[in-house]
Symmetry: D2
Subunit: 455 residues, 4 copies
């Protein structure tokens, strides 16, 4: 395989540690497309003949069909997908096959294939993120006014609505989408033609191959082209951040489906039972979405570790880029699909959420704000008065609205009956009309805003 210089082949352990065909075959489509673009360019500039091109095109097409049909015999001794396809091509079409590698090297070939694969993954994931945003929007649109507790520190803080809560995730995912698009734009330069590392003396046309493969243009430095994997690192970090967002909603689903909360119920299709406890209805999909953050973070750390301190240009360490990238892309795809499916499946329990929205003195801030507005107290003093009223109510075992006017006036004599107008969760939520606030009318507007953006 390495030509005339090697007296012996690789040792067994060398062959085993070195072979990538077990995983890089996943890039076969990209490899065929890249070779086609390269061959057409070679013919165009006169490096190979039109006949050679025809043979190569025919050969590659047939190989693609063989692989797609599961009939291609992958050969581990040929190391990787690139050599497997090239060897098969020469087997099929002879001499012309041996001319395909003119003016390129495996270094630029693999850099091109990986970029194409990642770009495809980015496009797929971007579409899935949009779908997941639509799933959140679907719940939000139905529940702009459905009361639930807003938590900080997982303690009831102020009443909010299920719709507003869903829209928080729409915002997060919209940034994930934006990150994915920026990463795609930055990736979209074509390394093909950088050859081994220095470019080539053959009169190749890199702009032509770049265009044929949908890139914005060729990369500008051949060493960088074969040595860099920051596009993969960036992709992994975008995936990790998105997975982190999904893990947060997954955690909420796990908590919300616990019977003490009972905020939502997942159906038979999105839960599993137990091999021993017949009553179980476990939110496994949510747990797996939460857990899969781990492997995506791990893939990011893995590649950061690999690339740290690597002298230029290509080093074999970089072969370790692929499995992590493949796995992260597929894991995130699963997480997005499962999240969207859970959103479309889950049944909110409006009664439980409304009850919880009113518990824990959740309208105490409304009371403090009322003191500021009505009695012109400085906020810090109003906060203090409210704290004392909460302490009193807690001691009496009642809600704030359960305190009598006497009890209130004992703490602050100027309080009057108008205060009761701000103590209900619904009033609280409706009052928060500042831009981006929880008021149902706000939420409805944001739902419309995003529905239009995603249309």
């Amino acid at each position: 395989m390495w030509g005339g210089r090697y007296a012996e082949g690789p040792s067994a352990i060398m062959a085993e540690i070195n072979a990538s065909i077990g995983f890089d075959r996943k890039m076969w489509r990209q490899d065929v497309l890249g070779s086609l673009a390269h061959a057409r360019m070679l013919a165009q500039v006169g490096i190979i003949s039109a006949d050679d091109l025809s043979a190569i095109e025919r050969g590659l097409e047939q190989i693609g069909q063989e692989i797609a049909a599961g009939k291609f015999a992958f050969d581990t001794t040929l190391e990787d997908i690139h050599l497997n396809i090239e060897a098969r091509l020469t087997e099929r079409i002879g001499e012309a096959g041996k001319r395909l590698h003119t003016g390129r090297s495996r270094n630029d070939q693999v850099a091109t294939d990986v970029r194409l694969w990642v770009r495809d993954a980015m496009d797929g994931l971007a579409a899935q993120i949009e779908d997941c945003m639509r799933a959140f929007l679907g719940v939000a649109a139905e529940h702009t006014g459905t009361l639930m507790p807003g938590f900080t520190h997982l303690q009831p803080a102020q009443p909010t609505t299920l719709g507003h809560h869903m829209m928080a995730y729409v915002e997060m995912l919209s940034r994930d989408l934006s990150r994915m698009r920026d990463a795609r734009a930055r990736l979209n330069e074509c390394p093909l033609g950088a050859a081994a590392l220095c470019g080539t003396g053959f009169p190749i046309d890199r702009h032509a191959t770049a265009a044929a493969l949908g890139f914005d243009g060729p990369t500008r430095n051949s060493l960088d082209s074969v040595a860099s994997r920051d596009f993969a690192l960036e992709f992994l970090s975008v995936c990790a951040i998105c997975a982190t967002h999904l893990s947060r909603f997954a955690e909420e689903l796990v908590i919300w489906t616990n019977p003490s909360f009972g905020f939502v119920k997942l159906g038979d299709g999105m839960t599993t039972g137990s091999s021993i406890m017949p009553q179980k209805r476990n939110p496994d999909a949510a747990e797996l979405v939460r857990g899969k953050t781990g492997r995506i973070n791990g893939a990011l750390v893995g590649l950061l570790t690999v690339m740290k301190g690597l002298a230029l240009t290509y080093a074999k360490d970089m072969q370790e880029d692929k499995e992590g990238v493949f796995d992260a892309a597929e894991s995130l795809a699963l997480c997005l699909a499962a999240t969207a499916a859970m959103l479309r499946d889950m049944k909110p329990n409006l009664k439980r959420m409304a009850e919880a929205a009113g518990a824990g003195f959740s309208t105490a801030t409304d009371l403090a704000d009322w003191l500021v507005r009505e009695l012109k107290m400085p906020f810090r003093d109003a906060h203090h008065v409210t704290g004392r009223l909460v302490a009193h109510a807690e001691a009496m075992g009642v809600d704030l609205s359960g305190l009598t006017m006497n009890e209130m006036q004992a703490v602050e004599p100027r309080i009057h009956a108008g205060v009761f107008g701000v103590l209900s969760p619904a009033a609280s939520a409706a009052s928060r009309t500042s831009f981006g606030g929880t008021a149902p009318a706000n939420v409805a507007r944001m739902v419309t805003y995003w529905q239009e953006k995603l249309a």
Copy 2:
């Protein structure tokens, strides 16, 4: 501090684990600016009086001066920078100080302060990346034709030039810069006014505070505003990728300054000696640049771990965002400065690089390409013939150009004397004229391209 409900203060361990004033004081400027913007808006919409505003402005200005002068007495029992400043303000100006917190909460306040701090860091780092690009460009401009070996697997692969090598880093850093800018644009929405989590019923003008603080506009969802830290995660991943790039050049400097290589020499100002070995001249700065990748990766992993599976909205875990972000920003700033300084300091040894450029049969590819062009051999066959010639030369202890015509023709009879024209490193480098290739004329064009872009 928590108003009228608490009977006792925090236990000692609670106070210790909870206090952030030890590190969040670093955000004092941002906190003052945020409070000024908030106060002016409160006055504008009539929530506080013009007199209160004047008092607040004056008070905050004086507090800023105290802190800048190192005269501010930070109080750990006041937990954080926000409460420290607010308490001091009330101490100074009385009642008006207590009105400042109307319509906001620490949750949106801290989210705003961190964004402002990160945005400042991004701007500083972007300028430093540009400076570092200029430092690489400076070396490249001088050395577009300075021969050196191009390595793959750290083995000589093909001759390249020092200029081309430097330009590879210009490309990497340009993508780091682009990532930093994209991250900044995405971060640039203002959470102020999201209040605790649900927004507020006070008639605040979030567009006004956003504009006053240089944001593109207010965030659209109050829960998301206080619960999300993806801007920090993205910042950390941008830093980690950039640090990884710098670690690669640092590794090269460590190898290049080893006497067996001797490619470059660093001056007294950029090396250190030893406490025991009087001859030492160690590239400590390069090693530290390489090593500091670790802490930046660690900060990224740290925050990813923190945010994984956190139920909305704000949780105290998120206080852990700051130290890692501060440290990563400062570490990357050091690494960029040290890299630029080493570039401006280092003296390339042209002779050693040129010798190495010709070693290791580095023009074998040129020979193979010549066989393709001149003898119309398929590339794979040319590769094989060249391999045999290399094996022969290696056995004879000579370079490819040291083989006789007879020896060459014994392997491939059609070889003729024209072949010697492609076997010198200089000819090899000059021949690689494909776009982005190593030919000195190409490199010179790219230097101009980037000089103009950075101008």
Copy 3:
């Protein structure tokens, strides 16, 4: 500082990136102890005189007092704690101070100091882990029979007791303790005398210095001695695993203090309020314990990144070992202290836990097991029958014990009234008497077992 070879001092950026005195001063005690042991050995073998030793002892003692009293003027241009102390020593005692560094180097000196620091940290943390185990044991001893739901997937699975739950953490922490002890034993070899990297020709006695510093003996290979930091990596991984355990209990506290659960209440001393929501009582300490896992994981990743691919022996990258190790040790100390404090502070709500223990058909397994035992059904069939009974009860809105005999017999005719004996949570818990099972008598035995082990 580097002796006679350097014409100029370091550049500003070099000095800034290189200086470690900002953080390694934390090791001053270790540095003084190491120097004392070294000096005494030098005198013992006759390399320095008794007078020199006296001067050095006196000088180091005084320097220790200066530092302890905060009166030592650390000098950044002297880079690190080692050079700061040595320079001050020579300033104080003259010639003799210059002899101290005979037969050692900063490389073995710093390796010794870090090991001593880590060993002290290990001892402190081991004591804290034991204390935390005692805190869990304290709750367990009081609550061997206090019913609470046992969860899998955060769904009620089977009734258990608070005591049994606490004892699960005792087991986890006992393994953390065992890991810490193993790591300490492995670390406990002394690198002092490895000198720069190759040992020395001076007739030093490494066994003497090792013994004086409490090590089991000297390290066996000088290159390894100055090049390795696996003791620090192991320490960090032990810390990360322990922190992960604590994060799990912290998560439970966050969930248990939410009012929908209400399993436990934390007092004023272990919660915080809100700057805007007067009713808040947030479990900040628990959240911080959970969140600090991030920085400890980050420190581990940081040092793994640093050490990856470092050629032997010492490289300056390794200076990056300290801050992460210091921070991880201090963070874990805080987390252990906070966890123990929360355990001693928290008030379980027995009523809420008991109610939850019976909810969600938590005794369904007991019913299935009864069918196996009483009716000799294969377990899989019994599981199926129970599943149908649960579905029926759920549809009727009752518990399993709320089904009538007729309803039960409609599903499985052989069921008789004896079944009701296994359907209460208390009966369920009491029945699980297998070794390690949840039965209160078991738990009491385990409490005794651990109390004796920790005594």
Copy 4:
């Protein structure tokens, strides 16, 4: 599968995200062994009949043969290896198969299987670490006196020997081995019988199953048994540290095989060529050993992320433990095998190493030490004098031994001709006789020490 309560099966995405049979089939042997031990115990205590046991034994044996022969039809709808085997068992032997799951659950079953798998992996890796130590010892034994430069900061520091350098790795690996053994001892408690989470009321004998499976005894707390994965975290950290050690030697091989160094040569069997550069001989195996550190670190981070903040007991997130553990074990096995193979294959170039050992004023420390010993100069002054001599030699372009007596005495008049005795690399190495030092006699003793320990 979940018995009588579920009306519908899982949705497609649920099935896809949930299924683990794709990877947990790797544990089939462990699952069969665990089931056999459980069944024998059930029969022993009278829970199942002798006939049932015979049927189960026969059935499991046949299933084992089917799987080993690649004839077992794995069914994704049966989720995992446990349900696949149990379903097949019941298909084969009927009723008796349904009794196997009595008194256990998948939670304790999977915890047992994973521990058994990890224990097997630990034993295999421990044997490989020993083999790798033998490979380092083999080189060391041949080269106790082979001079090479000892580096700090990758700069020549002092002459050492190849043998001493190899022995540094023997020390590192010996600690890796010790860590692996400690981890194994800690893991070796049997969770079987913890059942779902609370243990069971069936009179099972956990000591019997523990003994049958080679465990030291049963775990002591059922909740901990199904909820904990610290044994896997510890295993991963042990692997990561060992991989880090191997990555350091791999880096050295990459540098040493570069022609500017030329310290060692790897044979055809342990290098690869290039698809385009016919002269290449790349140290791919070394690069892959270095790079695979990344995926092992990634697996560790992945599982740390998964376990962070998980409420007890079992959660489906924990299914994510397996792939990372499997991959880390297999990757480390590859790295150890490849490292041992490279050690046995590599040919040191004694001439190149000896030349480099003398370059870079590597005996400057010896000169300084001579000044201390002979002229009684304080070390710091000797260091300074030597620095000036190095500067002078550097300016003259000669080695230290190339300075004339006059030149030396110009710097320090008391220097006499005796100094030349310490300036050769061989003399330098031989002089470092302190315990653990580089002197060949020391190294030979350490080789014997380790050969005996490993015998």
